[in-house]
Amino acid sequence: MKRMSILALALVVLAAGSLIGCQSKSSKPVIGALIRNLDEQFVADYAANVKVLAEKAGVELKLLDSRSDQATQLDQLNTLLSQGVKYFVIVPNQTEATEQMAQAIAKKKGGAAFSNIQPSVAALKVGKNFFLASSPESVAGQIQAQIIDDYFQKNPKKLGANKTINALMLLGQLGHPAQKYRTDAVLQGLKDKGYTVNVVAQDTANWKPDEAQQKMDAWIAAFKGKFNIVITNNDGMALGAVESLLTAKYVDDPKDLTKDTDGDGTVLKVPVLGVDATQVALKSMSENKLYATVLQDSVGQSSTAFELALAMAQGKYKAGFEAWGLKPETTPGDEAPANDAAVIGQCYLVPFKAVTKDNYKEFVK
């Protein structure tokens, strides 16, 4: 029995070995991709595009998933560095960890482009080979605020007295940067636009549709008629909320769930907002259920980051390099790290896009 077990163990190891296939010894450029967590839709799309780009460019790609653990990501970085990998695209776990990663890479005279979560100014100051190729999370919240503003401009009757927005908020995993920045930014954005925001209830649904639906079921029972919008941190939870509202017949016309009688763009009594513009979400929008979402451009971010890493690997990078048709910023803006003149030339801002009734068809695949 024991001998068989050892055999089994050996087989597993060999199977692992075979999975990686023959390690090519060619002089292809090597690029490391350190990916925060493939469970997140945006990050998964980002990684998928990096794979496609690497294939096209004939680059050997080492893509690793840290499953939301910064310590794991650090270990993965060290492992790749010790293997001689020098250039990276990184979707970090936390802004605060980027400087340390940049320092480790700089020691080996490499470089990296950070996406999704912005690197700190200090990280970019480690060297000229470190880049921001992202649209900061808070922009997603700002765009949500803009969409909400448009909605209430068009449907002022839905607004409470004194421009009050009574919001139900479904949050991602608490403490997750996307949860924090998106939430803070949408609330701040609405305040800046002169609204009084009354958060009727908020809770985490851990990014998940089923948890969101459960929370929403309870809230509908408790706060019927007391809220006029549902804001969520991602499409998954938004769709859970939509489902709950439909089940509870919290709609314009309980007899016909497909009729938008008040003409506000959704069959539901209140608009529901998500982030990500996943395909399911777009489908829901086409049925007048989900009101709107925000596209964080995974293709844009990954292409920009990858082109930067590739240029470095091939020795083609020079200041002012144009990646994915984007030029680096020239004038400092409001948000770190693109607010510091010293590193502004290393910041590539990929635009976020509002996805509404008017334009959602462009994103359907």
Binding site: S5, A10, L38, A71, N78, T79, Q179
Partner: protein, 335 residues
């Protein structure tokens, strides 16, 4: 009465073979290491690779030593991940650079001892609560620590308001990130802690009591062991070890947030189980725990090095853990 007639010296199986069959955990580790060496033509074992491995596993090692002792007493601790997370956050909050505007105690500059002491005390307190609940509250360890898990998570979020506690002072980070020649400080701390745990388990009365309680709690009580006190102590010791883990993790990452160390309990429990610490209690050694940590480490490291797809990594890791434990299990079956 000659010794030979009573306590008969039956020739124990000798040699390498006997040693290996008794120490399947070492076999597993060696097989994996050799396999990795073979697959990479030895390249996977450069000096910096070994340093990386040691650094990567050291924090987990503290958690493993703690939960390993708990499992020896027939307990379990599910709260590790979030306790380490809470400790890291508390510790980090006292180590932020005073000029950092978003610091929890902005403008205050604490001496380096404060974050360390605060972290250790937080860990110890969590361990103490676990111990009291299990020993005197008579709650099943599974449930008690599930409760503290949630409490620790809640406290962490309340304390940090879900924000990242970053911008830590360099001297604090140096505690984790520095090295003595080629040897990372972290590895030295682990070696020291492992030595202390070894002395405790092997050479103190309390250590023997831990094994006795895990082996047969009723018999332990009849033998005059203060079972409740010893249980409180084992959770307390573990808490202190988690405290160390949390402080070092904060220093190593230069930050702490709600996601720090999440899921560490599963890694630690898996590691000590692979290392031969039996869930039925009363069995396990410090050496086994460390071998278990290294085994899991080499799995993680090896698969990263080989570039195995992340989804397959999880699957492989699971299979290897099950096979390793299966191999180890037979030798301590209760008859």
């Amino acid at each position: 009465m000659a010794a030979s007639s009573t306590v008969t010296a039956q020739a124990p199986a000798r040699g390498l073979r006997a040693f290996l069959s008794k120490n399947t955990n070492i076999v597993t580790f060696v097989v994996l290491a050799l396999a990795l060496g073979a697959l990479t033509g030895g390249r996977a074992f450069g000096l910096d690779s070994i340093q990386n491995l040691l650094i990567a596993e050291s924090v987990r090692a503290f958690a493993a030593l703690g939960v390993g002792m708990i499992i020896i007493t027939r307990g379990i601790d599910l709260s590790i991940g979030y306790v380490v997370c809470l400790v890291a956050s508390v510790s980090a909050s006292f180590a932020q650079t005073p000029d950092y505007a978003a610091a929890l105690y902005a403008g205050k500059d604490f001496v380096i001892l404060v974050p360390i002491a605060a972290g250790l005390m937080t860990g110890a307190l969590c361990g103490l609560v676990n111990g009291l609940l299990v020993a005197y509250g008579k709650l099943p360890a599974f449930i008690a620590t599930l409760g503290t898990l949630s409490i620790a998570r809640g406290l962490q979020l309340i304390y940090t308001k879900a924000a990242v506690v970053g911008s830590l002072k360099q001297p604090f980070k140096n505690i984790s990130q520095g090295s003595l020649g080629p040897v990372p400080y972290l590895a030295i701390y682990v070696a020291f802690a492992a030595f202390v745990v070894w002395v405790l388990l092997r050479h103190t009365r309390r250590g023997t009591n831990f094994y006795a309680i895990g082996g047969n709690p009723v018999a332990a009580r009849v033998s005059g062991i203060n079972v409740e006190r010893e249980l409180v102590m084992v959770y307390l010791y573990a808490g202190v070890l988690y405290g160390i883990a949390g402080v070092l993790q904060a220093g190593r990452l230069g930050l702490a947030n709600a996601l720090t160390a999440n899921g560490m309990e599963l890694d630690a429990i898996a590691a000590v189980t692979v290392g031969g610490v039996s869930q039925t209690g009363g069995v396990g050694t410090m050496g086994g725990m460390i071998v278990g940590v290294l085994t899991l480490g080499i799995i993680n490291y090896g698969m990263t090095y080989l570039g195995v797809d992340s989804y397959y990594q999880l699957l492989m890791k699971g299979v290897i853990i099950i096979v390793a434990v299966f191999m180890d299990m037979n030798k301590n079956a209760r008859r």
